[in-house]
């Protein structure tokens, strides 16, 4: 077999059903073999779209997302998507063409040092130098991408290697001596944690993306109910615990709920699971959770004690460890008084906004929730739209909130929605977007229409790069520097691509428009012309303690 055939055969054996990508000169042999392959191929309109679509597919399904691009610019266009997947620990394999192996280093046409460029933004990467290594490399790449703390892996394949004829040998097993992730927690540490939990009076569970990637949502719920501890989560942890549960505190951090942030500051024990104490969560580090002992469960040892010193670290898979903890806890703590406190906090400072007669973005998101009964997959762009999507839609299940957390990539949500829809065709998929973000990968509307991918895009159109404007308003004396962004007529634009467009300018029209969009079997852009200077609240100013919030309701 030639290298290109070996590659596709390996992808099939890895269970790959779909690839997202874009052809080019140095992947011609692979695309020639793809012509006869039963792997579904989605041609995006930009390589960045392909990477984000593979990422969205992975987040919606839990499987490894696969994307492919040619050498040079094709590969460099993938890099934002690769970095995005890396920051959020998303399993992805990105395949790139490379110039012929004897030309490498010659500044050949469309040459770029792809393994060099992607080294800091991948979990691992490979430059294939012999087709007989290819099967092993693909096997390793999928194993590395999906095991331990997941992440993206790049396989860079020179075009002559794609043509090289060699014997195909499928490696039955993967054995990488230098890579052995820890899945089960240290029994002594688990005992210690269990004891600490039994003795706590004011415990809070702080759940991150690790809950989603390890499939720990059910055991998390069982543990929370057993020990009667309230649960807060990060942006990446949304969906890991039902938002409407009585123990739910919602999201914490910069734009978290006031009650989650206050609960953290008053807690005597924090059980952090699959979260990494990111600066958007902790605010000013030396003031974070001053009264609490901290148990930190994470599969990545380097996440532990990186930002914050913890009392009981437990390295391993969240699902396993929570299960082990559940069994080890003999006596549940008495948290009755504590739950009274957190319930009072919830009543005192709920999430809120001033709902006047005008069209508010928060209202749109609430209506999206009502119309879909919380059953949709929501993807987001980055900025205000993302925060409102996190705050005002109630998520009941894992894999239903898909957002660029770590990297904060504008232009992520739309292609991610495409990937999610391909992975979960039976689900309604909605990208909650801003007028700025949507224009960063708007070309993918052609991908939707040509492939009959039915996604909805709810544009919260405020005429500004809203989050930057909000910072300029609050911290730069309203000097609005280059944040007023002009947009095309989104309705006409959608129509010109063969999709549909609806414009909404009044509050009363919102629900009708959403229902109409959901009933159309086509991609629909809904252009919600919302209040231009609405802010996301509560807000913890950068570098402040997380209980020092601005709530904007005064």
């Amino acid at each position: 077999m030639i290298g290109a055939q070996i590659l596709l055969e390996c992808l099939k054996r890895e269970g790959v059903e779909v690839m997202f990508g874009y052809p080019g000169g140095q992947v011609l042999p692979i695309f020639d073999k793809l012509y006869d392959s039963d792997i579904k191929f989605i041609l995006t309109r930009h390589e960045q779209g392909a990477a984000h679509a593979a990422d969205g597919y992975a987040r919606a399904t839990g499987k490894v997302g696969v994307c492919i691009a040619t050498s040079g610019p094709g590969a460099t266009n993938l890099t934002t998507g690769i970095a995005n997947a890396y920051m959020d620990s998303i399993p992805m394999v990105a395949i790139t063409g490379q110039v012929k192996s004897f030309l490498i280093g010659n500044d050949a046409f469309q040459e770029a040092d792809v393994t060099g460029i992607t080294r800091p933004i991948t979990k691992h990467n490979y430059l294939v130098k012999d087709a007989s290594d290819l099967a092993r490399i693909v096997r390793e790449a999928f194993y590395i991408a999906s095991s331990g703390r997941p992440g993206p892996v790049v396989i860079d394949i020179p075009s002559d290697i794609q043509m090289q004829d060699t014997e195909f040998v499928w490696p039955e097993t993967v054995d990488i001596r230098s890579y052995k992730p820890t899945y089960f927690g240290h029994p002594g540490q688990i005992k210690k944690a269990a004891r600490m939990i039994s003795q706590a009076r004011k415990p809070v569970i702080y759940a991150g993306g690790g809950i989603i990637s390890s499939g720990a949502h059910l055991v998390l719920r069982a543990l929370a109910e057993k020990i009667q501890a309230p649960v807060t989560w990060t942006l990446m942890g949304i969906g890991g615990f039902p938002a409407t549960h009585k123990l739910s505190l919602g999201m914490l951090g910069m734009h978290g709920t006031a009650y989650a942030n206050h609960a953290i500051m008053e807690a005597d024990l924090i059980i952090a699971v699959g979260a990494r104490f990111d600066d958007r969560v902790t605010g000013r580090l030396d003031t974070f959770a001053p009264l609490a002992k901290i148990i930190h469960i994470d599969i990545d040892p380097s996440s532990i004690s990186k930002n914050i010193k913890v009392d009981v670290p437990i390295v391993g898979d969240a699902k396993n460890i929570l299960g082990e903890l559940l069994e080890s806890i003999r006596k549940s703590p008495d948290t009755q008084e504590w739950l009274k406190v957190t319930d009072a906090l919830k009543k005192k400072s709920p999430l809120r906004y001033k709902d006047g007669g005008t069209l508010k973005p928060q209202y749109v998101v609430e209506q999206l929730y009502e119309a879909t009964k919380g059953e949709a997959i929501i993807t987001t762009e980055v900025g205000q739209n993302q925060m409102w999507a996190a705050q005002w839609y109630q998520y009941h299940y894992p894999h239903t909130f898909i957002s660029s957390g770590g990297l904060g990539t504008m232009g992520f949500g739309f292609p991610a929605a495409i990937g999610a829809k391909i992975g979960c065709p039976e689900k309604t998929v909605i990208d909650i977007a801003g007028d700025g973000s949507i224009q960063m990968n708007i070309q993918e509307i052609a991908t939707c229409v040509c492939n009959k991918i039915n996604v909805k895009v709810a544009i919260l159109n405020n005429g500004y790069l809203g989050m930057v404007r909000q910072w300029q308003e609050l911290f730069y004396k309203r000097r609005y520097s280059h944040v007023c962004i002009g947009s095309p007529d989104f309705v006409k634009l959608a129509e010109s691509y063969g999709a549909e467009g609806i414009r909404v300018t009044k509050k009363e029209e919102v629900r009708k428009a959403i229902d109409k969009a959901l009933s159309i079997d086509n991609t629909v852009f809904i252009d919600f012309v919302v209040e231009p200077e609405e802010n996301v609240f509560p807000m913890v100013p950068a570098g402040e303690a997380i209980n020092r919030m601005i709530d904007g309701m005064a």
Binding site: G116, R119, I144, S178, S305
Partner: protein
């Protein structure tokens, strides 16, 4: 504070870039770095002297190194019995008449003149950091024109 770490890695192309890239990306400082093959040709050993301002940073450096797929083991010599050496070559100004004096003053550091030509001697010395430091002070008295150091290598004892 400086710490000596030994890292066993897969002897694959690009692995040095992975390690050095990690240091630059995360803002850690490498004071010296020595790389060579081991008894097993598939494995290389990197001895890295790092500047870490506290124990947390050192711990992070070790964890981040371990996270690299091609890293097999990381050994921190900070609290471990070990032997460490560095080799230096120093070119020193030395008129023929001063050569005996130079020879005698470097003798106690087990250094020797390995090359001598036109008023300059190349001195080779192998030793621990303290020894080398003292030797260099002595050599400064003669005038060091050029200095090359291998960086430290270390082995647990």
């Amino acid at each position: 504070m400086r710490h000596t770490i030994s890292v066993l890695v897969e002897n694959k192309f690009g692995v040095l870039a992975r390690v050095s890239g990690l240091f630059s990306a995360r803002g850690y400082n490498i004071a010296s770095l020595a790389v060579s093959e081991t008894l097993d040709a598939a494995i290389s050993c990197m001895t890295i002297v790092v500047d870490a301002k506290d124990a947390t940073v050192l711990e992070q450096i070790k964890k981040q190194l371990n996270k690299l797929i091609d890293v097999i083991t990381v050994t921190d010599f900070t609290k471990k019995e070990h032997v460490e050496r560095e080799l230096v070559l120093a070119k020193v100004a030395c008129a023929p008449k001063d050569k005996p004096k130079l020879e005698s003053s470097i003798k106690k550091y087990m250094a020797k003149i390995v090359h001598y030509k036109s008023n300059a001697a190349i001195i080779e010395a192998v030793g621990e950091q303290q020894q080398i430091k003292q030797l260099l002070e002595v050599l400064n008295g003669f005038g060091v024109r050029e200095l090359v150091r291998t960086g430290k290598v270390a082995m647990s004892s």
